[in-house]
Amino acid sequence: MPIEVEIITGRTIDQGKTVEEKLTEEYFKAVSYCELNEEDFRSLGLKEGDRVKIKTEFGEVVVFAKVGSVPKGVVFIPIGPYANQITSDDTDGTGMPLFKGVKGVVERTEENVKSIKEILGVE
């Protein structure tokens, strides 16, 4: 069963270390996952290495799922092309998209995580 969540994005040390090497496997690993609360992770029937599909009104994306130190009902994704499939493009007149706090749903999926080129639509 899908669960309703609030999605936040942010930097991580691995994202930072690989940010100037975006076409490498290391960068792909650093940005193509999300962190869920342990309880949410279990209620979705997930185990390490499983994938989830996250949908918001702005789009959807498949990423790997991990347990992280986030509260129940919150999903964290490192900033980057995967997060930006589902972030809000509405800036409320400020120029700043809502990168943190978009509402969405998460469910377990068998679909594969796309490559960065597939995400960008250039392959």
Partner: protein, 415 residues
């Protein structure tokens, strides 16, 4: 070479040691900055290798022919290059915008309304007995900030970690939260309400609720008490404040809280700026044309409007018909719909490294890495100007060389 200046994050550490192609003393991010990695090999037009001159001429042609080109990025290059970028934007009647518009520009909007009670990182290191990180996670984004300035730093008046109270306010228990004396976990999007509650308490009013934004009021009273009793306090705010519900209004409210605290004691507030010269990307256009970001020159004079002339707004509304992207990667960091338009227009990229924007670009111009292969001046996050050094020789042109030539070509075409 000693006292090497790091060109990764806004802390701009100036104590690196560079030897035999390797850097010491810097953090994991700094080390990655100076490490060998894939480069854009040569200037290219539509995937075909060309000379620098040919690529720059083609770029100038695209910019001059466009009705309203977007010139975006600028946070990871030197002030001298940014200045040329502003001049080119003016000549071609384009839009100048920079990475802060998806980062700390809401803080600039707040500053326009309220001013900013600020201080340097040096004053924090020497004086601050209470340090609050609000929606900021320096352990992962500015790894040496805590040791050099804000947590373990030994200063003139604050000589030891135990003389300093560190508070982290965040929606999740970050690695920085683990360094804190007090961690206040809040509900996402409730920063504004919590700041308002703190303002009310500092003013002497009573909060008629059990909790605000997921925080029990007793904890807010304790926090307000700690703030009022500080000798020199600082709020370092991060993107948790500027990228969530409330955006600029969150910062504005926090500045008002600091103004109130300044009637009783001394407090400052400062953004944790991300890229090493994102401050310069705002300061340079401010001293050239009066504004920090979202500047349109299509009428021949500068106009400022974040609702229209920020990169995301211009792209989502398809208001630009070409783009020059320098020292930045919007294809990775903008919402999907903005990237969709970037894919449809001619794009010129100037960058040392291939990234997602490279994959969309028609003209790609590789550049020297500032701080390693090129010198120049940059603003540290607290507005202190530092000179970054050239440590090694390179065949690559610097951003300044590329933009000087591009300006020359643009002038030839538009007069």
């Amino acid at each position: 070479m000693e006292n090497v200046v790091c060109t990764f994050c806004g802390s701009v550490c100036d104590d690196g040691v560079f030897e035999d192609g390797d850097v010491r003393k810097l953090c994991a991010l700094g080390k990655s900055k100076f490490s060998k990695k894939e480069r854009i090999k040569a200037p290219m037009i539509d995937g075909k290798e060309v000379s620098y001159e040919e690529a720059i001429e083609k770029a100038a042609e695209i910019l001059v022919e466009a009705k309203r080109p977007l010139l975006y990025g600028w946070a990871s290059t030197v002030n001298e290059a940014i200045r040329l970028g502003v001049l080119i934007a003016e000549k071609v009647g384009g839009i100048y915008d920079q990475c802060a518009s998806v980062c700390h520009a809401p803080g600039t909007l707040a500053l326009i309304e309220e001013g900013v009670p600020g201080g340097t990182l040096g004053s924090v290191k020497n004086r601050a007995d209470v340090v609050i990180f609000w929606g900021a996670n320096p352990v992962e984004a500015h790894p040496r900030h805590p040791t050099r300035y804000s947590v373990m730093a030994k200063g003139l008046l604050i000589k030891d970690r135990k003389n300093r109270k560190v508070v982290v306010i965040d929606v999740r228990e970050t690695k920085t939260a683990k360094l804190a004396d007090i961690f206040v976990q809040i509900k996402p999007g409730y920063d504004y309400a919590i700041i308002s509650a703190l303002r009310a308490i500092v003013k002497g009013e009573k909060i008629e609720a059990d909790e605000v934004g997921g925080v029990p009021v007793e904890k807010l009273y304790e926090l307000a008490e700690l703030m009022m009793n500080a000798k020199y306090g600082v709020i370092f705010y991060g993107l948790g404040v500027t990228q969530s519900r409330g955006r600029d209004r969150n910062v504005e409210n926090a500045i008002k809280l600091v103004q109130q605290l300044n009637r009783k004691t001394r407090w400052v507030i400062w953004p944790m700026r991300g890229h090493y010269n994102v401050v310069g990307a705002g300061e340079v256009p401010a001293w050239e044309v009066g504004y920090q970001f979202a500047i349109d020159f299509s009428r021949g004079y500068p106009r400022f409007s974040p609702a229209e002339f920020t990169a995301v707004e211009a792209l989502v509304r398809r208001d630009c018909d070409a783009a020059l992207i320098i020292a930045s990667d919007p294809a990775a960091h903008f919402p999907r719909k903005a990237v969709e338009h970037l894919k449809k227009i001619p794009v010129i990229q100037i960058d040392p490294h291939p990234n997602l924007t490279t994959l969309l670009s028609n003209v790609v111009i590789p550049s020297a890495i500032a701080g390693l292969e090129a010198e120049g001046s940059v603003y540290r996050m607290d507005g202190i100007v530092l000179r970054v050094k050239k440590l090694v020789e390179t065949e690559y042109w610097s951003d300044v060389q590329i933009l000087e030539k591009m300006y020359e070509e643009v002038v030839k075409k538009v007069g």
